[in-house]
Amino acid sequence: MSYKWIGAMLIVGSCGGFGLSITLHQKQEEAMLTQLCRILDEMLWELPFQLTPLSELIRHTAGSTKGVLRAVFDGLAEQLDRQVLPDVQSCMEAVLRENALTFPRLRRMLLLLGQSLGRFDLSGQLKELTSVRELCGQELKLLQSDRDTRLRSYRILGLCAGAALVILLI
């Protein structure tokens, strides 16, 4: 009897934990996108002001980030310094292959950033960066809309799924 209850509690707990992990994952992605928006803002200020070469700019902006994003930006700066791949997009793709990102929105945004960098004129470069910044802001807004309700429902769904599984098994 007690084994049954322990088993049931474990099932409910693990399903609830799964719901909770989805919640945390979403929160992390939101934090990453916020950081990316900040980086893009910094790049937009810095570019016309000092015309900093890209690898220095990337390294400078990476200094204010942490976690996966820091690893991606450090990796990108290293790739750019190595001067092997033909363009920034290829460098970004190579870095994303090395750093497996589990955040789909962030990954899409970083690929877009890679495509946008390396224009031949400053105004074009700034326009491209601005549009990536806008898209990033939109993604962030989308993620933040009804966030609390959505995240609560993930947790409750996890617990309910666990309970349903217990009922079925018992």
Partner: protein, 274 residues
Amino acid sequence: MICAWKELLSILPQWLRTQAAPYEAELEELRLRCGRPPELVLGTGSKWGTETVSQEDLNHCVNMASRYSPWAAATISRGYITAPGGHRIGLCGEAIVKDGKLTGIRTISSLCIRIARDYPGLARRIHFRGQAMLILGAPGWGKTTLLRDISRMIAQEDTVAVVDERQELFPPGFPTGKRMDILLGCPKCQGIETVLRTMGPDCIAVDEITAQEDCQALIHAAGCGVRLIATAHAAGMSDFRRRNVYAPLRESRIFDTFLILEQDKSFHLEEIYP
């Protein structure tokens, strides 16, 4: 002879490196046109590569030369960038024009890479006693190379301020003179005024006088008692006299020594207006 050959090869795609590598001593220019084989301009004539240059190859060269930051090169709006080692890359393609001014290049269709070479001691037999020297020659005849060595020679004794707008006179690796100050990337007319005011030079060296403003700045500097060395596009004295852009220089008679280059890279001095 000094040439930043490794730096040149490092900006080329791999397949092009192997084709250019055997011509280290004689390659003068590398012309890349999208959809055509590369043209290797040697001292003795042109040779054509075997493969076709693609858009990706052109972008590769520009990205490597500018460290993936072509927009950061202020000179891109003037149609060229300077690669590490002082090699000048001329760009051609779809231009971006804003308010009637060229601001950049959107799509690149051809590149002209001029290989920078330094021959220390080349100017040893030139005895420049005058106040101002103008080096005349057509493109590719060695004006910049001579200017580099003459200014280096003068800088052993006097203070020389070099206004190096295109950053190709003294790239890293090329020896500079003992008393030499180099202003990089600044337009010539502003640069001449700046070094005149701030560095107190005995001599100012500038490459390629191509505009009336540059001529006016030189005349102003000559009026301040500074010695000058400059280069100008002209295939001889008669060509120099024919060109309108140099009219202020002719009228002001600031240059008393002319170093005239020939196509075979030989040169002779002409001293006038004694």
